[in-house]
């Protein structure tokens, strides 16, 4: 993406929180000292100030606009495998003291002499989302204009469009992380998301079509008129396709996944199972398997939090560790896990910049950033042509995984039959199910067309949602179970 706004104005998260709450560096030193009482291993404070604007259009009208502001501080104390955590949204020195005293409660019955030591991270030396660091409002009229454009473009696209719903969401977050290792660093994290959903109706048959996009960028870089028109039309197209959909087949089939968002396969099948907490506890289907083959040699999968402007990217993770590109699977061999501070220390492994949290009200955990498979060499058309009887799935809703058994699902909402190498009829929404440690061993072809998703993913774990990205080139997976309703008879499918 080409940016022309030049270098952003200097912004100091430390000064921001000092001015706002009167908490100085000297206070931080004193509070952290208290947090480390009784032989704690590590302590940190996470200050957050966040604004979230949302504007919503339906029936051609922007009927609703909202702004929410949240601020608070979370205090954490680590002692061996124990975490003490307390947070308050009333940021005062007195409440900070109370919070660290509460968090320190876990440091009082130290059982062994093996402290959880961790290396000190570097201060962030880059800006992956260089937008103006300001909470100054984008004028409401501008946001309303974007939504009205989307509404107009969608209605113009087809007479069968009966309803258009569009939402624009802008979040700005400033964080300051102070560590008992004697460093303090901050980050300003913008996040934009735009969604358009339409209801199409033809002869009593109703379907919904959806498109969403965004990233860590300024509004104007996200919603120019050309993009709005293309994306509104895409939402309509997805709805219309499903008007003609027939029952999806039931049972194992060769499946071709299109590029981009179908990378949710990797997030569910591989990603969660490689988060370090499950592997430290040995409850992951991937526990103890580093160095083993878990995929065909065509597959290299990475988690990369350093891609500019991306929804899943961060300059530093929510524990202050710089994000990086971590190779999870290299030419089919399992290479590594994704770590937060606690689990890296307990496993004696390097930090990877995957310690993330939803907000100051949440304890950090190992989480993904942008997870994708590197491109292969094949022409995507050839991959489709290679399938005699199968499914071509290009758009998905959500997915889920049972980390322990490795079973995962993801749900296609735009998919087609492949018959004799050609894409034919659209099929109704169907869930695909597989086994994480096994599914990539069935990847027989990888396309050259790697794409990342459009910036819509939110990953949920233990009740915490964080923005993530996924990506995939076109791939062929042999014999994945497709959860349709149409049972294959001796001579093809029954209705």
């Amino acid at each position: 993406m080409d940016k022309s706004q030049g270098s952003p104005p200097a912004f100091s998260p430390a000064a921001f929180f000092d001015e706002r709450f009167g908490v100085t560096t000297r206070d931080l030193d004193r509070v952290l000292g208290r947090a480390m009482a009784r032989h704690a291993d590590y302590a940190d404070l996470y200050f957050e100030y966040r604004t979230h604007d949302q504007v919503h259009l339906e029936e051609g009208l922007v009927k609703h606009a909202s702004v929410s502001t949240a601020n608070g501080v979370g205090a954490r104390v680590l002692a061996e495998a124990r975490t003490g955590y307390a947070f308050t949204d009333d940021v005062t020195i007195k409440n900070l003291d109370t919070a660290v005293r509460t968090a320190n409660v876990i440091a009082n019955d130290r059982g062994s002499d093996r402290p959880a030591r961790v290396p000190a991270p570097q201060a962030p030396r880059r800006d992956l989302y260089p937008v103006p660091h300001s909470f100054a409002d984008v004028p409401l009229e501008r946001k309303i204009g974007v939504l009205q454009d989307l509404d107009r473009f969608a209605r113009k696209a087809d007479a069968r469009v009966k309803g258009v719903f569009a939402t624009l969401s802008l979040e700005n977050k400033v964080v300051l992380i102070a560590s008992s290792q004697g460093w303090v660093l901050g980050d300003f994290q913008p996040l934009v998301r735009c969604n358009v959903r339409c209801i199409v109706e033809d002869k009593g048959n109703r379907q919904a079509g959806y498109f969403g996009w965004g990233g860590r960028m300024a509004l104007d870089d996200c919603v120019d008129a050309a993009r709005c028109e293309a994306n509104a039309r895409e939402a309509v197209r997805r709805g219309l396709v499903n008007l003609d959909a027939v029952a999806a087949p039931a049972g194992p089939m060769d499946v071709v996944l299109g590029p981009g968002w179908p990378g949710i396969l990797l997030h569910e099948a591989i990603g969660h199972g490689l988060e370090a907490d499950f592997n430290r506890r040995k409850t992951s289907a991937f526990s103890g398997r580093i160095g083993e083959r878990v995929a065909t040699e065509l597959c290299t999968v990475v988690d990369d939090g350093t891609i500019p402007w991306r929804r899943g990217s961060l300059n530093v993770d929510d524990e202050g560790t710089p994000t990086q590109r971590t190779v999870l699977i290299e030419d089919g061999i399992l290479r590594g896990y994704m770590h937060d501070r606690l689990n890296a220390a307990l496993l004696g492994m390097e930090l990877t910049g995957n310690g993330r949290r939803e907000s100051y009200a949440h304890v950090p955990m190992p989480r993904m950033t942008n997870t994708f498979m590197l491109a292969g060499e094949e022409d995507p058309e050839d991959i489709i042509r290679s399938v005699k009887d199968g499914i071509y799935a290009v758009s998905f809703g959500g997915g889920q995984v049972d980390i322990t058994s490795g079973k995962f699902v993801f749900s296609a909402n735009e998919a087609y039959r492949i018959e004799d190498g050609s894409v034919t009829q659209p099929v109704r929404d169907a869930t695909l199910i597989g086994n994480g440690p096994d599914v990539l061993t069935r990847v027989s072809r990888v396309g050259a067309d790697l794409a990342l998703d459009d910036g819509i993913g939110t990953c949920g774990k233990d009740g915490q949602g964080v923005p993530v990205g996924v990506g995939l080139p076109t791939i062929r997976v042999d014999q994945l179970v497709v959860g349709g309703t149409s049972v294959r008879g001796p001579s093809g499918f029954q209705g």
Partner: protein, 446 residues
Amino acid sequence: MDRELALGLLARAKEKGASQGDVTLIEREGVQVKVRLGELETVSQAHEMRLGLRLFFGRSAAATSTSDLSRASLDRLVEETCAMARATASDEFGGLPDAGEMAAEVPDLDLLDHESRGLPIEDGIDAARAAEEHALQYDPRVTNSEGAEFASSFNRLIHANSEGFAGEYATSRFHLSLAPVATSNGSMERDHWYTAARRRDALDSPEDVGREAGRRVTRRLGARQVRTCEVPVVFDASIAGTLVRHVAQAVSGYALYQRASFLCDRLGERVASDLVHVVDDGTIPRALGSRPFDSEGVGVRRKEVVEAGLLRSYLLDAYSARKLGGRSTGNAARGVGQPSAVSPMNLRLLPGEHSPEDIIASVEDGFYLTELMGFGFNAVTGNYSRGAAGIWIENGELAYPVSELTIAGNLNDMLRRIEMVGNDLRPQSPVAAPTLKIARMTVAGE
């Protein structure tokens, strides 16, 4: 934090020209502890407050919320909300509920256990430890654990509006859950179990919760796939509530006026078999989904949503009711500072006459479903396709565990094909159903 603060904000907004408005203040205190393999892992303590303001200028609206309750912050909030509400579109259906719809009194539904404040952390640690210990002792194959958690919270809510309503209530919630892991012959499985209640003494005992988790996880060991087929499917009571939740989504006033529901225009029609009775009731004392008034100050009530298979009521707030030409059903559930939304209170599919054992015994060849995965439900079409695991039924008996399957159908057909309803409703979640048997669904596997 008090009513005067709320009324003061409304008065200031009125001075600035707002025609209507409401304020919600919430406060939450909570403690959560996690124990794993007998060792304390996490202690987490929460304290939060939030204020939400919604204002109308004529028929146009905006909402804001903040966790910064300082005078300066609230002054800014009023200014900002006024400016936004002036800029949004006028909507003839907008506005607060009519004054006559507001709750006339705030009934005491016994939703608060005072133990939720100041409960010693050790009590929670002991309960979590005991539950996990009972799971690990249940069977030698239970060898590991994702941990056991105990949580308690105290919540207070104040709501006031410009039509003269002002009310408040406090609630508590206790929760004990665990996720043991079992291994056998290279197969590793996890399951979980929990208990939740408004009152601490209404929780199931740590022993019962732990043993049930142990039973559920060990019976999954050695799961295999089955061939793709069409068979009867029995939904275990712990997941049957998800079907009721899908119904709630489809009878939400917002989905209906947006034409985004497969139950549009079906009021009075048959939508399920005549064994199906679904009731939403926010007035049940001590229940997890009860509250004395909804998020707009309208009194909650009991309503039949589905009566002997016929669709009897939608779930509406003031706005969606006006859009559809009805009255609020007291189901407004707008989050603080969020857009309007509706939600069921305590939504239950009423128990029938069959024991779960009878239901299983009635199936010659079929699927007893104990776990669902993924989000494969489309409320616009009713199309349903989800990942599944459970136990295969042969000749009326539970035969062997199965996994890596999907079940698929259309909710419209599934509800009509409910042919047995269990007597085992366990209302430890606001949306609940007993064991249900669906005559036929597609199961995809090998």
